[in-house]
């Protein structure tokens, strides 16, 4: 039986990709950011997942305004790297896990989550930056990845509660998959950041710290947090944090925090990273 053994969250700031790809990872500005993942790199090498269900948002790369799925799942064997305007990142293509992805799609749909099934998906920095942070620059990514894009661009995005419930449905799906697989669920994006308007550059460390704490101590409170509070307290693009609740919902009721890293600034953003392990 497949089982979810860990949850990981990470911001997916595109400047991290630029710094890494252009060989600036050792600059004074970037060194502490990459060093914040040293523990996690060692940890994941000892606990390498067969599959990562990677919850992220597309940034107008695969989805234009022609088609805006709220929840989707990548069911292909392989996903190419998107050209976001700078040319595609020089990183390996992403290998999917079609059997598990299709199983999750079918299971969640019959569980009343109306997932959009994707067979062709070019993945952008939302998906590849966390891979770089966790795995560096391998010849091929050391795990298979099931992309789960969530709309957080066009209002309204799904509520935090709905994201949490989807996470629970993903857990039920994984646990009913007969193959013996070690599965991680990653939630990406956040933390506080605002990329637009006169309020750009907003960082709210107090909000972010409370959010990180509550993933373990009080996820019920996070489920109830309305969109307006994310935007007001942590900036317009902090709405991405609802995606972390898909991860949290997938871990079950009780979790233990294994590691946390928080760093300001990462370009415009407060970078947050946490590793959780289910205990229930």
């Amino acid at each position: 039986m497949a089982r979810i053994t860990a949850g990981v969250t990470s911001s997916h700031v595109p400047a991290i990709a630029a710094a890494w790809d252009q060989g600036r990872a050792d600059d004074d500005y970037w060194r502490p950011i990459f060093a914040g993942f040293d523990w996690s790199k060692k940890w994941i090498a000892r606990n390498m997942p067969d599959v990562v269900i990677l919850v992220y948002n597309d940034h107008a790369s695969a989805f234009s305004l022609e088609l805006i799925p709220t929840f989707a799942i990548g069911c292909a064997d392989r996903f190419e790297i998107a050209d976001e305007g700078y040319g595609p990142r020089p990183v390996p293509p992403v290998e999917g896990h079609a059997d598990l992805a299709w199983h999750i799609a079918q299971s969640t749909i019959l569980d009343e989550f109306d997932m959009t099934i994707i067979n062709k998906l070019d993945v952008d920095h939302g998906l590849t930056v966390p891979l770089t942070l966790m795995f560096g620059q391998p010849e091929a990514w050391p795990t298979r990845i099931i992309p789960v894009p969530v709309n957080v661009v066009q209002y309204p995005p799904p509520t935090g509660n709905r994201c949490y419930l989807l996470g629970q449905a993903i857990r039920r799906a994984v646990e009913s998959f007969p193959e013996n697989l070690n599965v991680h669920v990653w939630g990406t994006g956040g933390m506080s950041h605002q990329l637009q308007g006169p309020r750009a550059g907003l960082i709210n460390t107090e909000f972010d710290t409370a959010f990180l704490d509550r993933l373990t101590t009080n996820p019920e409170a996070l489920r109830k947090l309305p969109h307006v509070e994310y935007v007001r307290e942590a900036g317009s693009e902090a709405i991405e944090l609802v995606m972390w609740l898909v991860m949290r919902g997938a871990l079950g009721e009780h979790v233990r925090e294994l590691y946390r890293f928080y760093h300001v600034p990462t370009s415009n953003t407060a970078l947050g990273h946490i590793v959780l392990e289910p205990t229930s």
């Binding site: 550059g201 907003l202 909000f207 935007v231």
Partner: protein, 129 residues
């Protein structure tokens, strides 16, 4: 009707609502076209001519030509779409965000290094907090 008006109380912030998405449809779709290298080349060769191929308003075209991202957002642009313009220019999100604040690039970068913009005083128009 879905009421998103409570978001209007947040200063200096524009949400990408249905209304703005409809207004900005062609502006944002033009931006998407810049994901192809050949389109970036054609745009750079003659920006005005390339923009004129799209059913955009004059105000939208002017915002693009001026790289006035606040104006582009007011005309229905969304930051993740507008990113294709500054990517074509070889500029970063930090550069683009900085231009929207009225600060110089140096001032904006310095503010971020000092921990970013404080939430105090920018939570609510109504409460001025």
């Amino acid at each position: 009707m879905t009421d998103l008006s409570e978001f209007d109380d947040i200063p200096g912030t524009t949400l990408f609502t249905a209304q703005r998405s409809r207004k900005g449809y062609w502006l944002n779709q033009f931006c998407m076209s810049l994901m192809k290298a050949e389109n970036r080349e054609r745009f750079k060769a003659d920006e005005r001519a390339y923009l004129d191929e799209w059913p955009m308003t004059e105000a939208q075209k002017q915002a693009v030509l001026a790289r006035d991202y606040n104006a582009a957002i007011a005309e229905g642009g969304n930051i993740y779409f507008l990113a294709k313009i500054f990517a074509t220019d070889g500029k970063s999100y930090q550069y683009a965000a900085g231009t929207m604040t009225g600060m110089t690039q140096e001032e904006y970068a310095e503010m971020m290094l000092r921990g970013g913009r404080s939430i105090e005083g920018v939570r609510s128009r109504k409460e001025g907090s």
